[in-house]
């Protein structure tokens, strides 16, 4: 079965079906197995928001196929009183709605887990150590939904009612979630709420609860929002004043631009009906990034969003952007590669290819958001950095962060004004008498530029991807080329002082540390607690938020005996970047923890691997 790492069910199950155990409160996971295109998204959203509405920290992950309809899909919801939002390795409650996968689904459960399924599937025959709740979904659906063509959709709401009753959800909160889900359609809301109640009533009358999993009201989600990383990035771009957006649709990045279009249409159309932005669906990713750089050159705040295959296509333009010093923002919502790979699964696999994207000596600034809040913040900061550094800025999120719903503190309104970098106006030129486009006037490696249309005879310069001197004139002179490349290096060093610094958690005593970034943060946070609780092992933690690295990274590595670099790819790409950056004598401290099966990394995998390497 595709969504857990679990091997065959363990014989040493904690509890057998029917036994009474201590209740497990606000700390379990629910997995709904369906086929895509069956409309289960609404039902799953209601479950997630009901738990959130009860004040319990919750996260949801959609594991879906690269397909439109009819293939297996799993949605996992995790309730965690501790606030852990990483993927949980084991499933506690299975809702098996897909007959195709039902047998595999139940076989993958741990002993003591729960399975809810259509009674005709007889899944109890496969597992005596799983608590089984057969439900006559078809019969119940027919009773609440006379209209046959709607039954496929309504059927899913029945399981919401079953799960709600079994886990003792607050039904007022569930009803509110249903009504909000169908806010604009009163009839649909009534029909779906009826289905939820039918599931609830059936469970009350015909099933006896044998399992320990229950929900109790908490107050841990007050004031919090739920949003996906792609929407957060889109908001970041809008509040950063993006003006030109280009894209070529590709999973899992399409919803960055789709949601951005919705926001822009709502909040960036002026009173006369005209837009303070332009969005273009390009013919391919080459054109998308070409438009971004052309727009950046002419003074727009421009962006595109893509994923790995698009990054590969953008390589040539990325080199032009670096060498001719053109601003632009490229969001990369990473998916599993190489090649087409697993388009709907997650990976941190584009680090090395982006760091040096294009031929010759090229390197690019990368921002690495580790939460939806950082998708918003870095999504905004990227535009300032692009114009301040006059270079393409890459923001690397991933499918897990981008396409799943996450709890978050509300986003803060940007405090600093929009930074447009070193741009000379006609007045400046009048005062200066002229300028050298590629001259390092300030010693920080960042030259001054002018925008097309600047009304001064000395404003123009010639942008080219071929050799150029400080005056932007063509040159093949050895010293001109070398000076230019060394200045670009100085500029990269300046970038070190401007990118987001890492987040460091250390107690001054631990001998071992973890370095991670992006979505690995959720698993690492939980794993550190596991190691402390289960092994008495206290592990310091540095979460990287950008490349080039800031000085904190060297300090952290140098002050620990062993540092585990946790990342979601096969080739230890971040470890490679660290080895290239750190002094050789420090790199011997680095160890690697890798996770690359297409599923988001989980805490148990991190803990087990570190414990193994530590020889504990």
């Amino acid at each position: 079965m595709a969504t857990t790492n679990a091997s065959a069910p363990s014989a040493q199950g904690e509890s057998a079906a029917g036994s009474t155990t201590r209740p497990v409160v606000n700390d379990f996971s629910i997995q709904v197995a369906t086929v895509n295109g069956s409309g289960s998204q609404s039902a799953n959203a209601v479950l997630l928001k009901s738990i959130f509405g009860m004040g319990i920290p919750v996260s949801g992950k959609n594991l879906f196929p690269s397909n439109i309809a009819g293939l297996p899909t799993w949605y996992t919801i995790r309730a965690s009183k501790h606030g852990y939002v990483a993927r949980k390795k084991d499933i506690d409650i299975l809702v098996a709605m897909n007959p195709e996968t039902a047998k595999d689904d139940i076989l993958s459960l741990r002993a003591g887990s729960v399975a809810i399924y259509e009674e005709g599937l007889n899944l109890q025959q496969y597992r005596e150590d799983v608590i089984c709740y057969p439900v006559p979904f078809d019969k119940l659906t027919a009773q609440v939904c006379p209209e046959a063509k709607l039954r496929k959709l309504v059927r899913n709401m029945i399981y919401v009612g079953v799960v709600a009753k079994l886990t003792q959800m607050d039904m007022a909160v569930v009803e509110a979630a249903v009504r909000r889900q169908f806010a604009k359609k009163q009839k649909a809301a009534d029909l779906n709420w009826g289905a939820v109640q039918a599931g609830y009533d059936y469970t009350t009358q015909s099933l006896t609860k044998h399992d320990p999993f229950v929900l109790e009201r908490m107050h841990a989600t007050e004031g919090k929002i739920i949003i996906d990383g792609n929407a957060a990035a889109a908001l970041g771009a809008m509040f950063a004043g993006v003006t030109v957006v280009t894209w070529y649709p590709i999973t899992p990045s399409s919803s960055v631009v789709e949601q951005l279009i919705d926001y822009l249409k709502k909040y960036r159309v002026e009173q006369d009906g005209k837009a303070s932005f332009a969005v273009v669906q390009a013919e391919d990713e080459l054109a998308a990034v070409g438009m971004v750089l052309g727009a950046g050159w002419a003074g727009a705040r421009s962006m595109t969003a893509t994923s790995g295959p698009g990054i590969s296509l953008m390589a040539e333009f990325a080199g032009l952007g670096y060498f001719s010093e053109l601003p632009g923002v490229i969001f990369d919502v990473q998916r599993v590669g190489p090649s087409t790979g697993l388009p709907t699964r997650t990976m941190q696999g584009d680090l090395l290819s982006i760091a040096y994207l294009s031929h010759g000596d090229t390197k690019h600034v990368m921002l690495l958001p580790g939460s939806v809040k950082e998708c918003f913040e870095f999504g905004g900061a990227a535009f300032d950095l692009a114009e301040q550094l006059q270079t393409p800025i890459f923001v690397l999120s991933d499918l897990d962060l981008g396409m799943n719903n996450w709890m978050s503190e509300p986003f803060d309104y940007p405090e600093t004004p929009i930074q447009r970098g070193k741009v000379l106006t006609a007045e400046d030129l009048k005062r200066l008498g002229g300028f050298g486009r590629y001259k390092d006037v300030d010693g920080d490696g960042i030259p001054y530029r002018t925008l097309p249309g600047t009304d001064h005879p000395k404003a123009a310069y010639f942008t080219r991807g071929s050799g150029h001197n400080e005056q932007a004139l063509y040159t093949e002179r050895p010293d001109d080329y070398q000076n230019l490349m060394e200045r670009l290096n100085r500029k990269f060093d300046t970038a070190r002082t401007m990118v987001p610094a890492p987040v460091v958690v250390q107690n001054g005593k631990s001998k071992i540390g973890i370095i991670a970034f992006g979505t690995s943060d959720f698993a690492v946070t939980e794993s550190r607690d596991q190691m402390k609780k289960e092994y008495g092992l206290e592990v310091d933690y540095l979460r990287l938020r950008a490349w080039p690295f800031t000085p904190e990274v060297l300090d952290f590595v140098a002050s620990h005996e062993r540092v585990y670099v946790v990342e979601q790819n096969r080739d230890a790409q971040m470890l490679s970047l660290l080895k290239l950056d750190l002094p050789a004598e420090e790199t011997v401290r680095l160890r690697s923890v890798r996770h690359f099966n297409g599923l988001p990394i989980d805490a148990r995998s991190v803990t087990d691997e570190i414990v193994l390497q530590e020889g504990i």
């Binding site: 030109v244 054109a287 727009a300 942008t463 080219r464």
Partner: protein, 348 residues
């Protein structure tokens, strides 16, 4: 020695008070006699005569001999020599950022019809407001004379190699795809090219001009169909091109039976005096037919084949604010704190 000092004559200036010198560029590094240099001269003349402020122009190009040429005219305009075959996307981005600028793109036959075909067709389709010139010589010059995709079937290289694939007709393609001003000229035809370039400046949508521009080094020999000699013998104008800019008095009479008078968006007039029967520059089907027929006869048809002066351009379709997006102040690009609060509240 003269004893009385006569003041030097004031340099001749155009209608915005600039001498032609202000339209010149760097010294060309192309071969002596290259057709591209003649095209640069015509560009300089037409911008000067039309009184275009150099600072209001963005020059854009891809890679190749042709794409170098923006360095040789209009030094006072920003210029962007981008990557091979990708000028259309850069131009699109630049014009979205600042739609008040005039876009002038220079490409070649390799840069357009081979590596750049993908972006070229989409540029034509969008009717982006810009002039797109192909300096077309049928060969790759910078890599020393390989055939390009506009080389005619049966054309011969200096090495004796015969081209056995048909040429792509960029004009027929551009008409089919939605460009709104499509023509072909010859770098050696000063009068026609000047008139077409001035009309191009007056046009609001995409202008696609394929200008046959012989490569004196690699494709000007016997057996080439892009040589000076071949063009002199085979050029066949579909119509005589006359242009009356909007700032000049339009008093000259014309014969409505034999001349099309096209009123352009800026008030200029394009006067096309028919040399071919059935010529109608507003009829796309007729235009493509004429091109194919001429090709069958072994003629190189030149002139304005198709024009639609009023079709909405890409920047019009996007309904952007009047000011350039590039320089909008923060008040117009960053929504208020209340907007963020409203969005956050809905996500709770």
């Amino acid at each position: 020695m003269a004893t009385t000092a006569t003041p030097p004559p004031a340099p001749k200036v155009n209608r915005i008070g600039l001498p032609v010198l202000d339209y010149r560029g760097g010294k060309t590094t192309l071969c002596a006699g290259c057709g591209h240099n003649a095209i640069s001269e015509r560009i300089i003349d037409s911008l000067y005569e039309m009184g275009i402020q150099p600072e209001r122009v963005m020059k854009l190009s891809g890679i190749g001999c042709s794409s170098k040429s923006p360095a040789y005219f209009l030094s006072r305009a920003h210029s962007f020599n981008s990557v091979h075959g990708r000028m259309p996307s850069v131009a699109t981005g630049a014009l979205l950022a600042n739609k008040t600028m005039m876009g002038l793109g220079v490409s070649g036959d390799g840069d357009t019809a081979s590596i750049g075909m993908g972006q070229f067709v989409h540029l034509m389709r969008r009717n982006l407001p810009m002039i797109y010139i192909i300096e077309d010589n049928g060969v790759y010059g910078l890599t020393k004379g390989q055939f390009s995709a506009t080389a005619d079937l049966g054309s011969k290289l200096k090495t004796g190699v015969i081209n056995d694939l048909p040429a792509i007709d960029t004009c027929a393609l551009a008409i089919q795809l939605g460009a709104t001003f499509v023509g072909r000229s010859f770098s050696g035809d000063k009068k026609q090219l000047s008139a077409m370039l001035k009309a191009a400046i007056a046009h609001k949508g995409t202008v696609m001009l394929d200008v046959i521009s012989p490569c004196v080094t690699f494709n000007d020999h016997e057996g080439s169909t892009k040589s000076y000699k071949y063009m002199q013998e085979h050029e066949e104008a579909i119509a005589e091109v006359g242009f009356v800019p909007h700032f000049e008095d339009i008093s000259v009479d014309y014969d409505a039976g034999s001349t099309f008078d096209v009123r352009m968006h800026d008030g200029s007039h394009l006067r096309l005096h028919k040399l071919h029967e059935n010529y109608n520059p507003t009829d796309r089907v007729q235009a493509v037919k004429a091109l194919m027929e001429a090709h069958e006869k072994g003629e190189v048809l030149t002139g304005v084949f198709y024009i639609d002066p009023e079709k909405p351009t890409f920047t019009e379709l996007l309904n952007m604010v009047d000011d350039p997006l590039a320089t909008l102040p923060q008040e117009r690009t960053r929504p208020s704190k209340q907007v963020l609060d409203e969005i956050m509240n809905r996500l709770k």
